[in-house]
Symmetry: C2
Subunit: 108 residues, 2 copies
DNA sequence: AATATTATTCGTAATTTTGCGAACAATATT
DNA sequence: AATATTGTTCGCAAAATTACGAATAATATT
């Protein structure tokens, strides 16, 4: 058991990944990427869950930095947070860009 | 509230993302990618948590399909599951490859 | 002023996650 | 046979997640 902590990178990427770690939130992100509309009501309509729950998932995505919301009375409009989206894109891209080592000492 | 369920894709990707949604598990994956060694003990040595907890995280990564383990008595060797790794790579790549819509109706 | 629309917050319940130490299993070594 | 080494599993506790309906807030409309 090392004394060592996790790196900033690991913490950050885990934060993004965790936010993506629920099908409802993946569905929301995909919806916002397609971006036909982005009002709360439209998002809710797409999902098989109660509006209170949708609101909760939106909050988590927002807190993770992947989306943002703004009020357009009486509606609320949600969108991808472009800056953090780009950051996440880069991190995941770099992560999966690593080639898996092929030493014979590895399984398979 | 739609009657509609989540897609297979959404479920699958959320499963991968969830597995990556903890810094300890990100650290494990990075360690296995670097692949200096891949015995349980070496992994445990890198992390600031008890071995029981490491074992638990490894189990989750295994159940999500991202890694695999095999016994090399008296040690246990863990590795990236190449097949699913490739699948995950493709899914995340496709997901982040989508360009974010730029309609003026979107925020920002 | 009363009502309707839209979405968030509150209160609650059930489940899952995270983490640990202790106990256990399985094989090697003495 | 006793001991050491290596990891997993068990039992438990604390915290976080997921989900819902009801209550609330904030503005528009009648």
């Amino acid at each position: 058991m090392a004394n060592k902590n996790y790196t900033e990178e690991q913490e950050r990427m885990a934060r993004f990944a965790k936010a993506m770690g629920h099908p409802a939130r993946m569905a929301i992100l995909e919806f916002l990427l397609r971006q036909e509309t982005c009002f709360f009501g439209d998002i809710h309509e797409e999902l098989p869950i109660a509006k209170a729950t949708v609101s909760q998932h939106l909050k988590e995505l927002k807190e993770a930095g992947l989306i943002q919301g703004e009020i357009e009375t009486p509606k609320v409009k949600y969108c991808i947070n472009r800056e953090n989206w780009e950051l996440a894109r880069k991190m995941f891209s770099a992560f999966f860009g690593q080639s898996v080592c092929k030493k014979e000492s590895c399984c398979g």
